[in-house]
């Protein structure tokens, strides 16, 4: 079923299908130590009925990108450049009122931590029904009926009685289902899922991902999935943007990117998955850690950890360029990546050093 849906994007994508178009998005955070750019020149397109994954380690700016699109940035952060167009209208140019009209029917968000994202003092029914009261002018009774429908749709048992329960009376997985129900309540065109499974058990994770998939198909939504989990991306996403230190380092269809990465970071990530690892063989990993956001080097953002680094990488920041069919990467040496053993070797030598 999944493979059927995953057809080459390039020829199928028409302007009509585009729900969200992000171009050159910059997000800055002001700290007491000065302004820090946490998202830099991020561009991508989310299309109807497809899932786009923003993939990266924590702190790479993926969540910040999502919050910027949703208009939920913290006061110290702001969008300093770029556009995020939902159906051709720039979300950043909207008035507060226009934004409120879009929030819900146009754009739904699944939050990461279901325990804190649900208001502890209101019943689940009241919180689920709130969207209908705000946007459809439903009365209490109608809102409750809609809430019960939603709960049934996301697979919560006994919705008629559970509708009057409070968030703390649900398990983590159930709470996450409720959050998803809330996000899809008004069948939005765009669904942003911010690490929807991070706080959950592995078995529950799979159920939640399956639920998201089902809802995407039913409502024909565009989904932006934010995750650090390579397996989830491989399983669920159609396209992927790999982010590193606030920059998109590689993007393209998941199949292409994962089978033929053209950025050393992507390659490093993929090699660190212990899929075919032999017993006794050292697991590979990328040495070092991402730079702190106020210490991002000039030149290539990945230079500190890259095995292919050379003089030019320190001087000039590579821009995204075509490296395959609908695939782009920001590396001066994209062509070398596929052939080079990017991380395993290094990791081994790293290990030996430590011995």
């Amino acid at each position: 079923m999944m493979t059927e849906m995953r057809e080459p994007t390039a020829d199928k994508a028409t302007a009509n299908d585009t729900v969200l178009e992000v171009t050159g998005l910059d997000v800055d955070i002001r700290t007491p130590r000065g302004t820090v750019r946490v998202v830099s020149q991020v561009s991508f397109t989310a299309r109807r009925g497809r899932t786009l994954a923003l993939l990266g380690e924590s702190g790479c700016g993926k969540s910040m990108t999502a919050k910027a699109i949703a208009g939920l940035l913290d006061p110290v952060a702001s969008v300093s450049a770029g556009r995020a167009e939902l159906n051709g209208v720039d979300l950043n140019q909207m008035t507060a009122k226009q934004r409120r009209a879009v929030a819900g029917p146009g754009l739904g968000i699944v939050f990461q931590d279901a325990l804190t994202a649900l208001n502890p003092v209101y019943t689940i029914g009241a919180q689920l029904g709130e969207s209908f009261r705000i946007h459809r002018g439903a009365n209490k009774k109608q809102a409750k009926a809609e809430a019960i429908d939603l709960m049934r749709r996301v697979g919560i048992p006994e919705p008629e009685t559970r509708v009057n329960s409070y968030p703390h009376q649900f398990s983590g997985g159930m709470r996450q289902r409720i959050l998803i129900a809330m996000a899809v309540a008004l069948s939005p065109q765009l669904l942003i899922a911010d690490e929807p499974t991070t706080a959950l058990d592995v078995t529950v994770q799979a159920q939640i991902m399956a639920l998201l998939h089902k809802l995407r198909t039913e409502d024909h939504m565009a989904v932006v999935l934010i995750t650090h989990d390579l397996a989830v991306v491989a399983e669920e996403a159609d396209e992927v943007c790999v982010m590193y230190a606030g920059n998109v380092v590689e993007q393209g269809p998941v199949d292409t990117v994962f089978s033929n990465p053209t950025h050393p970071y992507t390659k490093g990530l993929l090699d660190s998955v212990p899929s075919d690892a032999q017993r006794g063989e050292g697991l590979s990993s990328i040495p070092g850690s991402p730079p702190e956001l106020n210490k991002i080097p000039s030149g290539c953002v990945y230079q500190e950890r890259c095995p292919l680094v050379s003089a030019i990488c320190r001087e000039e920041r590579p821009v995204l360029r075509e490296t395959g069919v609908a695939q782009r990467a920001a590396c001066h040496f994209s062509e070398k990546v596929s052939s080079a053993k990017v991380s395993t070797e290094l990791a081994n030598s790293f290990e030996e050093e430590n011995r």
């Binding site: 409120r100 939050f111 994202a117 208001n119 709130e130």
Partner: protein, 344 residues
């Protein structure tokens, strides 16, 4: 509910008993009332007669036993000053105090919620600075001085309101205005702090992501969560008002329980003093139960299923904020208020 009530009564009984016994003993240490109630040239026989009539000839523990025996029969003794039943006197004075405290708290709460929420929406804005200035000043002004300034400006210089008494609405203005300062000053900071932390919670973002208006986000989502700590502190402040309106009642001649208490202390009217102490203690006990119930209504996490212990714990956590002094003009992005760990 019954277990809760039982626990509550048991835990309050011991301190109450100690306080009443202490008051009983201490009051008698202030001296023999005979000196106050008999003429200076009273004979020894008259003094003896007075002591016997008021039971003062007995050893103190016998007096105490007699008193507690009476209390069990709802007999709280008679006033030496007026000969009236002490309980009647205390009960008659109590509504005046309760009305004053109630009006004051109502105004303080409404103002604090409005100003505190508005200040939290714009930390370090004009309103925030104003409210922190007010609460700092309110904590620093002696209420008797404020009352005197009020009388000087509004009653003497301008002649707008009477200087004392309970007749007419105008007579309420100065006492209430004097008393309202401190509860308002404290509450506005509590509401502001709770709102700042509540507004930074993820559920506020969730509500915004549903397209809720600012009014709805603040009024329904943030305020409801901030209400619980506010209620606890408001309860403590009300207790303080019931207990400590003495100065204001004295200055404005307000016939409340505070004035009655200080009068009976000064007049060595033991029975009335004890009745006042008991009545206040009972009122505070009832008030605390009401606060607990209100707290449970506001926050589903501490409803009976969570147990009384959790409830107390949560309340005491908020109570800590009571000691928090007002902030100066330094930018405050979020106050780290501990949220109770909750899991079903």
């Amino acid at each position: 509910m019954l277990t809760y009530l039982r626990k509550r009564i048991i835990s309050s009984a011991v301190p109450l008993l100690v306080v009443v016994v202490g008051v009983f003993a201490l009051a008698r240490m202030t001296g023999n009332p005979a000196a106050l109630y008999l003429p200076l040239n009273a004979t020894e026989a008259m003094r003896e007669d007075f002591a016997i009539r008021n039971g003062l000839d007995q050893p103190i523990w016998v007096q105490m036993a007699q008193y507690f025996g009476g209390v069990l029969r709802f007999d709280f003794g008679t006033s030496m000053r007026t000969g009236e039943s002490a309980a009647d006197m205390a009960l008659r004075a109590f509504p005046a105090t309760l009305q004053l405290a109630g009006t004051t708290m109502l105004i303080a709460i409404v103002l604090a919620v409005i100003v505190g929420s508005a200040a939290a929406l714009n930390p370090n804005g004009i309103l925030d600075r104003f409210s922190s200035f007010v609460s700092m000043t309110a904590a620093s002004i002696p209420d008797f001085w404020l009352a005197i300034v009020g009388i000087w400006v509004f009653a003497i210089t301008l002649g707008w309101v009477p200087t004392s008494g309970v007749l007419g609405a105008a007579a309420w203005v100065l006492p209430v205005a004097t008393l309202v300062m401190r509860p308002f000053g404290t509450l506005v900071q509590v509401v502001r702090g709770a709102m700042v932390s509540s507004l930074s919670e993820p559920y506020i973002k969730l509500a915004r992501s549903k397209g809720a208006t600012q009014y709805r986000v603040v009024g329904a989502h943030a305020l409801r969560n901030a209400a619980a700590p506010g209620l606890t502190v408001a309860g403590d402040l009300t207790v303080g008002l019931v207990n400590g309106a003495v100065v204001v009642e004295t200055i404005f001649g307000w016939p409340g329980i505070g004035k009655l208490m200080i009068d009976s202390i000064l007049q060595r009217d033991f029975a009335v003093l004890q009745a006042c102490v008991l009545l206040t203690a009972i009122a505070i006990f009832v008030l605390n139960i009401l606060i607990d119930i209100g707290y449970a209504l506001l926050d589903p996490r501490v409803r009976p299923s969570a147990g009384a212990r959790g409830r107390r714990k949560a309340r005491n956590e908020h109570r800590g904020q009571n000691n928090t002094p007002a902030t100066t003009g330094t930018p405050t992005t979020s106050a780290p208020v501990p949220t109770a760990a909750i899991d079903a």
